[in-house]
């Protein structure tokens, strides 16, 4: 692996689970110069290797009513474009959080978040199912979240139970 590629991977490994680390901390952890870290991160942002920075929120605990669903979508692939054109049309809706092309019984899996279940249902029936080249949809509403983006969100999380001083 080339030097720059190796450094990119190291930076990604560090920030993948903690986007709050600042360039100075990252530089110290990886024995790099701070300017270099800033430059490499900027490059990766421009190349969409780093596609965004998000906070993992357990909305259930906020008490805010939210509706979300995973939708299996079957579509007709288009000549020369395959599944991409339809997938990109679906992606552009702000309610749509994740879209992936899948192997198996359906083509796309779409994760949708709305303010309410009713809003999500309306989106599926009015926007998604009626879209050209979409053959069918199967909607699975999310009832409870246990783990999100690698983080446990349930009550019995794994807190630090170590003694304060040990040999």
């Amino acid at each position: 692996m080339s030097g720059n590629r190796c450094k990119r991977k190291e930076i990604l490994d560090v920030i993948e689970n903690d986007a709050r680390l600042n360039p100075k901390q990252i530089a110290a952890m990886l024995e790099m110069e701070e300017d270099e870290v800033v430059r490499i991160i900027k490059e990766m942002e421009e190349e969409k290797i780093i596609a965004g920075y998000f906070t993992v929120i357990n909305w259930d605990k906020v008490g805010e009513e939210k509706g979300s669903a995973i939708i299996e979508v079957k579509i007709t692939p288009q000549r020369d474009l395959g599944f991409d054109a339809v997938a990109m049309r679906i992606c552009r809706f702000p309610e749509v959080k994740t879209v992936r092309l899948m192997s198996g019984a359906y083509d796309l899996v779409v994760y949708i978040e709305g303010q309410t279940m009713r809003e999500v249902a309306a989106f599926v029936t009015q926007k998604l199912a009626s879209m050209e080249h979409v053959l069918s949809t199967a909607t699975h509403f999310v009832l409870k979240t246990y783990k999100l983006q690698g983080a446990l969100v349930s009550e019995d999380g794994e807190e630090d139970r170590r003694l304060m001083i040990t040999p």
């Binding site: 901390q25 110290a28 794994e158 304060m164 001083i165 040990t166 040999p167």
Partner: protein
């Protein structure tokens, strides 16, 4: 018959003479406080990987709730033998050269009780792990300390070993990488020491519990050195490398004579290590390699952060090359290790361990564990920096090594 309120005279004088661990005293102090960030923890901040815990639960479901053989599950001993052979090229017969123990602590006790007679001497580097000297004393032997310092990188040498040997010397114990300094001994130096050990017909007790947590160079396994396998008792375990401290499972490997003798004590005092912990350890060896590597990578990154933080604070700190401890020199503050740790705790709510808990040579140093989250480390160093600046303003700080945020000479002069 007379009533008595003082039973001390009934207690073994050897035990009476042992001082309580300095860490224990400090623990009591910390336990009373809230909101403390602790850099005083000598165990991983990771929870045991789920696949290991799950394997343990599965073993319970299958009814593994009984004693195992005294030596431990044969499957586990076989896995350990394979692991040692693959990693270091040293071979042990799993049938009679490996004993599963209740952590390295039991392995240490067993090996000392097996080889030591009253009056024997054991060479112990200082500073080093808190148990070595007391366990030596409880075995009726005498600790002889090999004093290390920042000047020699907290490393013992063949010359130091040679000088300390007397006709009563029986063994050398070495923890490599070292707790509390994070110092490591490379192959060349170990070869030199091994030569002395062989020439003087001593036993090498090699505590390699932090061996996998070596960040600079490669860990050298002592029994893998030429001519050392049969005169070394290798102690290791799963606590540090697989984040399994509470499971209390480790092992001793050595020649059949040592292991058979140790097994005799083990069978009458412990019987066997807990079967659930053994099942978990087996899973750790079979499938825990990639998870361990990720943990080691994280420790290494934090290590770099810690080195930089002490540099910026102006506290001299040799590069820790293994384990997860840094051992900064706090003598420039004019405070003793205990005063430094106590005042830092009371004023900034940051817990570190006074260096003298690890022996006299630790005086003037504190042990800081970087087995803590980046957030906690960052906040702890911020608080330590404030503490040091305040001490400097009060004229406690006498000299400081250069660092980016080094305490200005004026800060010191203003108060002198």
């Amino acid at each position: 018959m007379t009533d008595t309120t003082d039973w001390k005279h009934k207690i073994n004088p050897l035990v009476l003479g042992i001082q309580p661990s300095g860490i224990r005293r400090f623990f009591d102090l910390v336990a009373e406080m809230k909101g403390v960030i602790s850099l005083g923890v000598g165990e991983p901040d990771f929870v045991t990987p789920w696949h290991i815990r799950e394997a343990c639960m599965y073993s319970l479901e299958k009814g593994y709730t009984m004693y195992t053989s005294n030596q431990g599950l044969l499957e586990l001993r076989q896995a350990i033998a394979r692991n040692l052979s693959a990693a270091y090229g040293v071979s042990y017969n799993p049938h009679h050269e490996i004993l599963i123990t209740v952590g390295v602590s039991e392995g240490l006790d067993l090996s000392f009780r097996t080889i030591l007679c009253p009056g024997d001497e054991v060479l112990i580097p200082e500073p080093s792990y808190v148990s070595y000297a007391p366990v030596t004393v409880m075995a009726g032997a005498k600790p002889v300390f090999l004093k290390t310092s920042p000047e020699n990188g907290f490393q013992i040498s063949a010359e130091m070993v040679e000088k300390a040997i007397t006709p009563k010397t029986k063994a050398l114990i070495l923890c490599n990488p070292n707790n509390p300094t994070g110092a490591t001994l490379d192959r060349e130096r170990l070869l030199e020491i091994a030569e002395v050990i062989r020439a003087r017909d001593l036993i090498f007790i090699s505590d390699e519990i932090y061996g996998r947590l070596t960040y600079v160079g490669e860990h050298t396994c002592v029994p893998a050195l030429p001519g050392m396998r049969d005169r070394t008792i290798l102690l290791n375990g799963f606590s540090k490398s697989y984040a399994m401290t509470g499971w209390r499972v480790g092992y001793a490997a050595g020649n059949q004579d040592f292991i058979s003798a140790m097994t005799k004590i083990h069978q009458y005092t412990m019987l066997c290590a807990p079967v659930t912990a053994q099942a978990a350890a087996l899973e750790a060896l079979r499938n825990g390699g990639s998870g361990m590597k990720k943990m080691v990578d994280q420790y290494n990154r934090r290590r770099h952060l810690v080195i930089q933080a002490f540099h910026e604070m102006g506290l001299p700190c040799g590069e820790p090359r293994g384990a997860f401890y840094a051992f900064p020199d706090i003598r420039s503050t004019g405070l003793s290790s205990e005063d430094f740790a106590q005042q830092l705790l009371q004023e900034e709510k940051v817990a570190v361990v006074p260096g003298n808990a690890f022996g006299e040579q630790g005086e003037g140093f504190v042990r800081c564990s970087y087995s803590a989250s980046i957030n906690d480390l960052t906040e702890a160093f911020k608080r330590m920096n404030s503490f040091l600046r305040r001490k400097a303003r009060k004229g406690k700080v006498l000299t400081f090594a250069p660092g980016e945020n080094e305490i200005k000479k004026e800060d010191i002069c203003q108060t002198m």
